[in-house]
């Protein structure tokens, strides 16, 4: 009888603890995990200085990186990043450029190329199922490469994603989700040859367009 009562009390305690978690806000240090694999220098990279500028273009979920959910999929407590995620994305890109032989700075001095990174989304969405949770993290940003005259040489929207099943809609899983989504986004960007061609290629010629001769 005592054993049964003790077990019941333990179950109730665990239940109460789990319920409290969903209403407890959390702040986590989101970091960047570099793209695994080859980081061979890009031909001509050592002659290029790059200034990476981060801009916040998000239109939702700007103060949080995720929200805990309960069994009804209701948004519960906020999960925040302890650092500025716009800076994080800019620093992540700088790191990938440094690894490939460029001299890159974040919000630095005048340089031969400027990269504008406009962050559109940095959010992990939990979706409660019967047994587990779907974790769906998305990192989206627009990358624009400008030459020394401010002319655009390359522009693309990059979308990194990480989706899987987890058992807890908590802060650590949200942090891991957005970190993996950010790495996925950077992986897509650095595997795009046109991006590096815009960085190491010549400035776009200025002046009137040549008249075609027939």
């Amino acid at each position: 009888m005592i054993s049964r009562f003790f077990r019941l009390a333990m179950v109730m305690l665990i239940g109460a603890g789990a319920a409290a978690c969903a209403t407890t806000e959390a702040t986590v240090p989101v970091t960047y995990k570099p793209v695994p694999g080859s980081t061979a220098p890009v031909n001509g990279a050592d002659a290029v200085t790059v200034n990476v500028q981060g801009v916040d273009g998000r239109v939702a979920n700007r103060a949080v990186i995720s929200r805990k959910v309960n069994g009804y999929n209701m948004d519960m407590a906020s999960i925040r990043s302890s650092g500025n995620v716009v800076d994080l994305v800019a620093r992540a890109l700088r790191q990938e450029l440094d690894n490939r032989g460029f001299q890159a700075f974040v919000n630095g001095e005048q340089s031969s190329r400027t990269i504008k990174v406009e962050l559109l989304e940095f959010y992990n969405d939990y979706n409660a199922g019967l047994v587990s949770m779907t974790r769906n993290a998305n990192v989206r940003f627009v990358v624009q490469v400008l030459d020394s005259q401010g002319t655009s040489l390359f522009e693309e929207t990059v979308h990194g994603r990480h989706a899987d099943e987890v058992f807890v809609a908590g802060a650590d899983n949200a942090k891991e989700g957005v970190e993996l989504a950010l790495t996925n986004a950077m992986s897509k960007l650095v595997s795009n040859r046109s991006f590096f061609d815009a960085l190491v290629g010549p400035d776009r010629p200025t002046g009137p367009a040549p008249v075609p001769t027939s």
Partner: protein, 159 residues
């Protein structure tokens, strides 16, 4: 006795109601003096990729609530952008429970300078299980609009 308990538990689950959660998060805090002196002029609501009727409902709820909590003399304009609205699945609510959510941003601007003086993320949810919850959530656009407006009042104007 045992059957009575099971029946009572079944009834409780079937009839159980719903609960609200959410609130506003500060992106740019409104200056405290301005918060005391402010009143809301124009309210513009933009709804992205969902029912346009929600825009009207939300605008009415915001006007009603902000006229109550921001009663100063300095006019500020409000721009609201609804990023997502997900309604309940009534059958799911009755069987296993479900929720409705409303997510968006609210930006307060000085109409003279056009400058942003306050900026907030707002997220509201209502959820529950059973017949009563499904009925209560049938007007989720109205109830969540009211919650959205109340959260903005509370966070921006302390009202």
């Amino acid at each position: 006795m045992k059957h009575g308990l099971i029946a009572a538990a079944g009834m409780a689950v079937a009839l159980s109601g719903c609960v609200y959660s959410g609130g506003a998060e500060v992106v740019t805090a409104l200056d405290q003096k301005l918060a005391r002196d402010a009143r809301i002029g124009e309210i513009a609501v933009e709804v992205v990729g969902t029912d346009a009727g929600l825009g009207q409902t939300l605008q009415s709820a915001l006007r009603r609530e902000l006229d109550r909590c921001a009663t100063g003399s300095q006019t500020l304009d409000l721009q609201v952008r609804v990023a997502s609205f997900a309604d309940q699945n009534a059958a799911k609510t009755i069987l296993i429970g479900d929720s409705a959510t409303l997510n968006g941003t609210a930006t307060l601007k000085d109409p003279q300078s056009g400058q942003t003086v306050g900026d907030y993320d707002v997220s509201e949810s209502v959820g529950g299980g059973g017949i009563l919850a499904a009925a209560a959530m049938s007007n989720a656009d109205e109830s969540l609009s009211r919650e959205f407006a109340e959260s903005l009042c509370s966070k921006a104007f302390g009202g």
